[in-house]
């Protein structure tokens, strides 16, 4: 618009070129292509990039990160944040009305597949060379999570650390003179003692052994039998198995049913949809919990349960060992949050160039430091070679939103170490939990299979078995109904065919 504006832009892009080539020698190629674009003839206007983010809280006004990225990359950013509930529908309407943002994020594999099939996603394949820094950052093996029908339609983010593990009241164990359980038998004994032997010494039978969210808490118990929740595909003894058909499933159900029969488990477990189980646990009603460390091990949470009972002490426990080994949960190998562009950006090569540059930048050492911690001496300091938050509370608050800009993820362990130095033991422990690798996200539902109905039926019947409302002898009838009425047979066939084609079975 005016001379000053042009000057700033050119200056910014010159600085950017300097910064990029300084920090990542490997991608000189893409820099050379990027720089003439911006500082060339039509560089007067910075490229506009719109990004849709999913955030529980809106971004503060004039957030520093936007200015910082704009300046470093010579772009104009339009950041839109939506609540998790709205996010999916916003993407859909955006794509339907051809007004999608230039970058958006998909965390549901099924939706990713659908969109890829409908041809609304940008195909990264011709640009993979230029994306090399990003690929190095997220990991070559990871890329398959952003592929559909053999094409790269999304850039998966780096995997997040696993946060869940078993937690127990150490003070209760001590009061009852019990050791931490190591196998399933001891596990049941400990839960029984928590329920029946008055661990809190108040003379009332008002405590339960175990709780958690219904779709998470049973993970370690299924895991001890070498299986997991119904309907997941994994490889066992060289064969592809669906947990529903694994003989171990029945054993696991029988064991878990025993816990329910003995009334050891929070009777409202199925209603624990939010944080009800944590509240009950902190109020001293639950002895063992399957939950994530940020809700238990952070200082404010410790404060929270110590206020109720100063003697309370929550510790992490190892998984009980069972006939099928030890697994905390499953790990869906195909599931990841992927960054995607709408297909329409193809028409604008200058924009594609900038989008790729942006992804590469937040994956570079310099850029990833920026989006992990903010600005040096403003949000963090370097002391003895380690990154520590500054003492200014307001600055730390401001830096709390930088995670939204980790478009390609982050170096999780380094990040956690600097953000939560006091919880290192807790998150390391949780991250080392063994997980059963499953392949469900790679399966594309066959035409006419109603996944929602089938999963409702599976879930309902699972709990009928566990609560003793349906006899385990009818397990085969249950499978039969699932296969016929709910079309699970077609799904099984499709899944086996697709997974075999993918080469999961060597």
């Amino acid at each position: 618009m005016n001379k000053k504006g042009i000057m700033t832009t050119m200056l910014a892009s010159a600085m950017l070129a300097g910064a990029l080539s300084a920090c990542s020698g490997g991608n000189a190629n893409s820099n050379n292509q990027g720089t003439p674009e911006t500082s060339g003839g039509n560089a007067a206007e910075p490229v506009e990039i719109s990004i849709m983010l999913q955030a529980a809280e809106p971004l503060p006004d004039n957030y520093f990160m936007i200015d910082e990225l704009e300046e470093r990359l010579g772009v104009k950013l339009d950041i839109q944040t939506y609540l998790p509930d709205d996010y999916t529908s916003k993407i859909n309407t955006g794509l339907a009305s051809d007004s999608a943002t230039d970058i958006f994020f998909l965390s549901d594999r099924n939706m990713f597949n659908k969109l890829a099939k409908q041809g609304v996603l940008f195909d990264f394949d011709p640009y993979m060379d230029q994306l090399q820094p990003t690929v190095d950052f997220v990991g070559e093996d990871n890329l398959v999570k952003g592929q559909a029908a053999g094409k790269q339609y999304g850039i998966p983010q780096t995997a997040r650390a696993y946060q869940y593990s078993l937690w127990a009241r150490q003070d209760w164990l001590d009061a009852l003179e019990l050791a931490a359980p190591t196998d399933l038998e001891q596990f049941q004994e400990v839960l029984g003692a928590f329920r029946n032997d008055d661990p809190d010494g108040n003379g009332k039978k008002d405590t339960y052994g175990y709780s958690g969210r219904p779709n998470e808490a049973l993970g370690p118990l299924f895991g001890a039998f070498g299986t997991t929740y119904p309907g997941y595909f994994y490889v066992k003894d060289g064969a592809l198995v669906n947990s529903l058909y694994d003989p171990a499933m029945k054993d696991a159900l029988a064991y878990i049913k025993g816990l329910f029969d003995a009334d050891l488990i929070d009777p409202e477990m199925l209603g624990n949809t939010k944080l009800q189980h944590k509240d009950k646990a902190f109020q001293g009603q639950i002895g063992m919990l399957y939950f994530n460390w940020p809700n238990i091990a952070r200082e404010d949470k410790i404060q929270e349960y110590k206020t109720v009972n100063p003697d309370a002490e929550w510790v992490q426990l190892d998984l009980p060992q069972g006939p099928g080994g030890q697994y905390a949960y499953y790990d869906d190998l195909g599931a990841a949050t992927v960054a995607a562009f709408p297909k329409s950006v193809e028409k604008d090569p200058a924009k594609v160039e900038k989008l790729i540059e942006l992804l590469n930048y937040v994956s570079s050492p310099e850029g990833s430091q920026l989006v992990m911690y903010g600005l040096e001496d403003v949000h963090y300091e370097i002391k003895d070679g380690e990154i520590v938050p500054v003492s200014d509370e307001a600055a730390v608050q401001e830096a709390a939103f930088t995670y939204l800009f980790q478009f390609t993820g982050r170096d999780e362990m380094v990040y956690l170490k600097s953000k939560f130095p006091n919880q290192e033991a807790a998150y390391t422990f949780a991250n080392e939990m063994p997980l059963l690798p499953v392949y469900n996200s790679f399966v594309d539902n066959p035409e006419g299979y109603n996944a929602a109905d089938a999963s409702r039926y599976m879930e309902e019947e699972l709990y009928k078995f566990l609560y003793g409302k349906r006899s385990l002898d009818e397990y085969d009838d249950f499978l039969n109904t699932l296969e016929t009425t709910f079309g699970y047979k077609a799904y099984m066939d499709a899944a086996e065919q697709q997974l075999t084609e993918l080469g999961i079975l060597e």
Partner: protein, 321 residues
């Protein structure tokens, strides 16, 4: 407003016995009113009628790239209606939706009326106004918050009510996770939330009753209850019928937000309604066509209910139109 205007217009035209055709003349004579009506009509056309073309995706294989018109037709055209009807849960969904709506209508109709009567009969107007304002409050709470309150009271292990039951030696009742209680809790909390808000319109109607009727009643020695029965209730009868007919139009809605917040696997058999099913199926499979088909199905039934109930009400002399 429009009723007296047209009858008046008719009267005037016939009196002059002009050879002009009736309607355009009438419109021209009342052009100012029609002009004032125009923005409203436009709003409805643009935002309510024009988007209706979108319902055709209920009959199409809707694809984001091709858009509403270019997407191919579903084969057969009723494919998505069929998918809905053939779901193993179709019968249960329909039954739940009807039952929950019916209970809400049945048990939810009287409380706001009774509440409005109580408020209007209250002699200390300051107290009445205070109570009235207080009663609006729950209407502005979201269902998530209300569910939090319900959990605090009704939770099986930690809820206040179950603590009392426990103190008196009873067994805790799983109010929120049992199929026996879930619908009662749904309907009860719905009534609690909207009792104050729902009474506003009745209070306005009561305020509009001619006070001389009450004076006449008092002179004739009618008690308060008699006056309520013979003056107030007949006075607001039309409003009651109007609200009931309007509510029938939403009969198949049954309150998605409330149920979505409150339900869990254990109560699916009594709580899963059409809308929650569409949400789960549509969200998992990006199935816009199915969503539209079910929406159309619901609207069609809602329309029939509104027309039918109005016809019925008119027979008794109280229809809306």
């Amino acid at each position: 407003m429009s009723m007296p205007a047209t009858s008046d217009a008719r009267g005037v035209t016939s009196a002059r016995a002009a050879p002009r055709r009736r309607l355009p003349g009438a419109i021209w004579r009342h052009r100012v009113f029609y002009l004032m009506l125009l923005p409203g009509v436009l709003w409805f056309v643009v935002y309510k009628y024009f988007p209706m073309y979108g319902v055709i995706i209920a009959f199409k294989e809707y694809n984001l790239v091709d858009g509403v018109f270019a997407s191919g037709w579903a084969d057969p055209w009723y494919k998505y209606f069929k998918q809905f009807v053939e779901s193993p849960y179709f019968g249960q969904l329909l039954a739940n939706t009807f039952l929950i709506s019916f209970y809400k209508l049945l048990f939810g109709m009287a409380p706001p009326i009774v509440f409005a009567l109580l408020i209007s009969e209250c002699r200390y107007s300051r107290y009445a106004r205070f109570i009235q304002t207080l009663s609006y409050m729950p209407h502005f709470l979201s269902w998530v918050v209300i569910f939090g309150i319900l959990t605090a009271f009704l939770s099986q292990s930690s809820g206040l009510v179950n603590r009392y039951i426990g103190e008196f030696g009873g067994d805790p009742v799983p109010f929120l996770t049992s199929t026996d209680w879930f619908r009662s809790i749904l309907v009860g909390s719905d009534i609690w939330k909207d009792i104050g808000w729902g009474s506003i319109i009745y209070l306005a109607a009561i305020a509009g009753i001619d006070p001389t009727l009450y004076e006449a009643g008092r002179v004739d020695g009618a008690s308060r209850l008699r006056m309520i029965w013979h003056i107030t209730l007949p006075g607001i009868r039309n409003v009651i019928v109007l609200l009931m007919i309007l509510q029938l139009g939403h009969f198949l809605d049954a309150g998605f937000e409330q149920i979505y917040v409150m339900y869990n696997v254990q109560v699916y058999p009594v709580a899963d309604i059409i809308d929650t099913w569409v949400y789960r199926v549509g969200l998992q499979d990006l199935n816009f066509s199915l969503g539209s088909a079910v929406g159309l199905f619901k609207s069609a039934i809602g329309l029939v209910l509104v027309l039918g109930s109005n016809a019925l009400a008119r027979r008794w002399g109280g229809g809306i139109w």
